[in-house]
Amino acid sequence: MSTEGRILGIGPTDNTSDQRTPRERLRLIPAAARESFVPVVPARFRASPHEWDMTRTAPDRPRAQGVPIEVTGTVRTQSGAPVRHALLEVWSANHFGRYRHIEDQSGLELDDNHLGMGRVFTDADGAYRFWAISPGAYLARPDIGRWRPKHIHLSVSGGASRLITQMYFPDEPNNAADPMAILMGDAFSRNVGKPRDVGGADVEEAYDFDIVVGGRNATFFE
């Protein structure tokens, strides 16, 4: 354990990051209080059985526009233990870069066959799978021409493991200028999905994205 907490980085060209990132060095948690800082998410998750397929809004609806993809992977702690029966909340923009969210005022095209939100669970081995439409990149800062690269948001909740992250796509032109990618530095590659053969799946592209939940919280009760 180090003797100092971190100073959090502010994402370059990201106004919200400037407005909301704490400026003070994070405080260390006293040992006597450390366990109280380990939230354990109760396993009372809800989801509809069709939510794993986000290429359509329901099994009897047509496919959304764009490239259907499969994403598979495992969720583990840093010790390698699978995070079993965890909740993955997944959300992403449609083919045109628009979220079906009441606060997305971008004016980009909506697709009536695309919801872009779904929940799946890891199995007893920590493995997960979902289908999605490959999301469009979108212009996040029109004033300076900065784009957000294609990405899929993932939120992991399972026992003492809690992580919100994003899966990026390899070799995208906008990856290098993304504020959060810049903060990650060389470790950005961990957040990029690895292309693989589609196999028999009814999709056009497939990616592996293995997730490792970091920090002492995730392994606290192992």
Binding site: M1, S2, E4, G5, G11, T16, S17, D18, Q19, R20, T21, P22, R23, E24, L26, R27, L28, I29, P30, A32, A33, R34, E35, S36, F37, V38, P39, V40, V41, P42, R44, Q78, S79, G80, E89, W91, H101, E103, D104, L115, M117, S155, G159, R162, L163, I164, T165, Q166, M180, A187, F188, R190, N191, I211, V212, V213, G214, G215, T219, F221
Partner: protein, 199 residues
């Protein structure tokens, strides 16, 4: 096993949740921890409280779209963790985990007053996700608790301790004690945040 050996795999980077965390994922039972699901008989033990406040950015503006997660002990001071799963004082109707997304930046949870664990003052751990940041964490306390004077977390933050203490603001018509707690994410009056990766 040494901590290094236990943390051998490189961790996926935490990343911002962005502005569009789906409201679709909302779970009302996680915003009111005093009750279970509609129509189900069952009641958490303890004193009902309303915890409300604002999440503010460094300009004093409301931080719209923030996600807040609570983690607390039950009325007897016991957390529902793998370490305490068989404790006789576990409350079958209380998990101690809450979550909401605030569109405006103002928030309100209903829960029960946490009991004091050994050596601690009653507290609630608060995790915040929002656009522009990854996860940040703090812990709030309650005005008027004698144990605040000796709590290790409040002692550790020294002169900043008042920024972690929720103010008591009377009682609702339903008998819930109201506590107010504003979170200042950055700048003047910044709330003390804690590093659970380096601690």
């Amino acid at each position: 096993m040494s901590p290094d050996a236990k943390n051998a795999l490189p961790a996926t980077n935490e990343d911002t949740c962005g502005p569009y965390f789906p409201i679709y994922f909302r779970e009302p039972a996680l915003e009111d921890l005093t009750r279970v699901d509609a129509g189900v008989v069952g009641q958490a033990s303890g004193t009902p409280i309303v915890l409300r406040g604002r999440v503010l950015d460094r300009h004093g503006d409301l931080a719209h779209g923030a996600i807040l997660e609570l983690w607390q002990a039950n009325a007897k001071g016991v957390y529902r963790t793998p370490a305490h799963g068989d404790d006789a004082d576990i409350d079958p109707w209380f998990d101690g985990f809450g979550r909401l997304r605030t569109a405006s930046g103002a928030y309100e949870f209903r829960t029960i007053m946490p009991g004091a664990a050994a050596g601690r003052a009653p507290n609630i751990t608060v995790t915040i996700f929002s656009d522009g940041i990854s996860r940040i964490v703090t812990q709030l306390f309650f005005e008027g608790q004698g144990a605040n004077a000796t709590d290790p977390v409040l002692l550790a933050v020294g002169d900043d301790a008042p920024r972690l203490i929720a103010r008591h603001d009377g009682r609702t018509a339903n008998g819930a004690e109201v506590y107010l707690f504003d979170i200042v994410m950055a700048g003047d009056g910044e709330t003390p945040f804690f590093d659970d990766l380096e601690s």
